[in-house]
């Protein structure tokens, strides 16, 4: 019985044109090819756009040094910004940018970590239901609205509190604090949720309290993620132009204190961009500021990658 069965099968296979079947491209094969082409085309265009932007900003940005023969060191360390008179010291803006960025991150981080712990460990249900939408909403508010609130509320408040005009690094810090808070919080929440549950269980089963578990196990395991969150927040603060420009006072001078008008790289760019002529030194100088911004964001990105890699190592099992 079995033998007849197998010989029957063999007969049937011989009638099939195997050479045709195995060489013939089916519809699925065509779809596969088409899908792959579309995806390669898209990625190709994007790579081209990014590469041209990098090239464009770099070539424009170094024109200050190659065509106008400004010394790079003088550009980075000079404190006098008067492009009309040929003086382009960018240090006041560099200092301004770093000051608002670090100050905002410094103020926002404790609040962000506190909120994230509340949302993941203390009240996970309420956190997911109420706080998550609120924080996502904060991310979505346009920066001009933040700037407007800063101008209408923070600047007068600072004027009353410390005197002067109210414009300055501290007002910018306040506005940026609110703007980077949701970024740092959501990413910290993600990294806390990603901490394996068994770490928490192990700690609780040993009699550690909830707070000990959070501070010694969960936060520690989430540290790479939290650092990444802070850096993303800093990148956002560093690159924010509009809201900062509205409250910082836009004076391209070395900031003497936190409440005197100052400028950042971005605010100087937006302020000056309309007043310069293409190809002249004042215009090229602005491109150099843009180049610094670009290099800084590349640096932030690289930092995130390094941290992610080191974080992976410590989680390997």
């Amino acid at each position: 019985m079995e033998q007849t069965n197998s010989s029957f099968k063999q007969e049937k296979t011989q009638t099939k044109d195997w050479a045709y079947t195995l060489h013939h491209a089916t519809r699925a094969t065509h779809e596969d090819w088409l899908g792959r082409s579309i995806s390669y085309t898209c990625i190709g265009i994007i790579i081209l756009v990014v590469a041209s932007m990098l090239w464009f900003i770099t070539s424009k940005g170094i024109a200050t040094f190659t065509q106008n023969h400004v010394n790079v060191w003088q550009f980075l360390s000079g404190t006098n910004w008067a492009p009309d008179q040929g003086k382009i010291g960018a240090l006041p803006m560099i200092v301004g940018s770093f000051a608002v960025t670090f100050a905002a991150a410094l103020v926002a981080t404790p609040f962000a970590i506190g909120t994230a712990i509340f949302m993941t460990e203390i009240a996970p249900k309420r956190g997911r239901k109420f706080l998550q939408p609120v924080i996502e909403l904060l991310v979505g508010i346009p920066s001009v609205v933040y700037g407007f609130i800063g101008l209408a509320v923070v600047v007068p408040f600072m004027r009353h509190l410390v005197g002067g005009s109210g414009f300055g690094i501290i007002s910018a810090t306040f506005v940026l604090f609110v703007m980077v808070l949701p970024t740092i919080t959501t990413m910290t929440v993600d990294s806390l949720r990603a901490v394996p549950r068994f770490y928490k269980e192990a700690s609780l089963a040993l009699g550690a309290t909830r707070w000990q578990t959070v501070s010694r196990v969960i936060l520690r395991a989430a540290t790479p993620g939290i650092l990444t969150a802070i850096i993303f927040g800093m990148a956002r603060a560093f690159g924010e132009a509009l809201a900062v420009q509205m409250v910082i006072g836009n004076a391209a001078i070395m900031p003497k204190n936190l409440v005197s008008p100052a400028a950042t790289l971005t605010s100087q760019l937006t302020t000056g961009i309309g007043d310069t002529i293409d190809g002249t030194l004042p215009n090229n100088a602005l491109w150099s500021l843009a180049l610094i911004l670009l290099l800084m964001s590349l640096f932030f990105n690289a930092l995130v990658r390094v941290i992610a890699k080191r974080g992976q190592l410590s989680h390997e099992r």
Partner: protein, 267 residues
């Protein structure tokens, strides 16, 4: 096809006053929301013995075990009494952190912290405020020796615990619990993620540990229960069906469902 067994007829042993008990439960019920996961579990655990909880998946044995040191607090409602040193520890005013220091737990999957071997062991001691380095070092050695791991790791205490093999990690988790000098040790299928040789080592460790500790172990593996336990409780669909000395359970089970389970008709 699983037969419908009656939950009316059960055979649960009790102990007379001459047996020293480490802990016992009275009418313990566990609910996950509206799901009644554990019905009326009344079991007593003799001191310095190994008690095995056996049963198929979903029979409620892990649920029962996790309720004993209040690890189910956040996810389930547990009613009934859990007696430990004359205190009902299933009361809201009981300090759960203190309970867990006396009733240690080891989980199914080895779960050492991503720290060094030494750090893993002194983690809980540090949390209770022990700072003296000499005391900590002593406890590290004692605990690792208790878990039969000392000879294998004594030269690499500062290496990451994650570099150990699965079996070594599980014994490290046992050592970590021992560091708190508990008197009851709860183990939730501690060998199910381990190979046979590591399993033998863990079992040998447990047999040694029962001289000083009371051990309650959930296991899927009936041979394991037979090898190491003195008492054995059989769980079925959220009910404790039979609780008897291990030799009795495996030679002359008293009710049909136990008979069917230990002979391998289901599970």
């Amino acid at each position: 096809m699983l037969k419908n067994y009656s939950f009316e007829k059960t055979a649960v042993q009790t102990f007379d006053e001459h047996t020293t008990l480490a802990m016992k439960t009275e009418n313990m019920q566990v609910f996950y929301g509206s799901n009644h996961a554990m019905h009326d579990a009344s079991l007593a655990f003799p001191k310095n013995q190994i008690t095995a909880l056996i049963g198929a998946s979903g029979s409620g044995k892990s649920t029962y075990l996790r309720s004993l040191n209040r690890m189910n607090d956040t996810i389930a409602t547990v009613t009934g009494k859990i007696w430990y040193h004359g205190v009902d520890i299933n009361q809201p005013n009981v300090n759960i952190y203190e309970i867990r220091r006396h009733i240690g737990m080891v989980f199914q999957r080895p779960n050492p912290f991503a720290k060094s071997i030494r750090e893993n062991i002194i983690y809980a001691l540090r949390a209770t405020g022990v700072k003296n380095k000499k005391v900590l070092d002593e406890r590290v050695e004692q605990s690792l020796q208790g878990a039969a791991l000392w000879d294998e790791v004594k030269d690499s205490l500062d290496k990451s615990a994650l570099a150990l093999s699965g079996g070594q990690q599980q014994r490290l988790c046992i050592a970590r619990s021992l560091a708190m000098s508990p008197d009851v040790l709860l183990l939730d299928e501690p060998c199910s993620a381990l190979d046979p040789i590591s399993t033998v080592k863990v079992e040998e460790t447990l047999l040694e540990l029962q001289k000083k500790y009371t051990i309650i172990i959930v296991t899927h593996n009936m041979q394991q229960a037979a090898r190491i336990s003195s008492q054995c409780a059989f769980f079925h669909l959220g009910h404790v069906m039979e609780y008897s000395p291990t030799t009795t359970m495996f030679s002359t089970p008293q009710i049909q469902v136990t008979q069917d389970y230990v002979s391998g008709s289901f599970g």
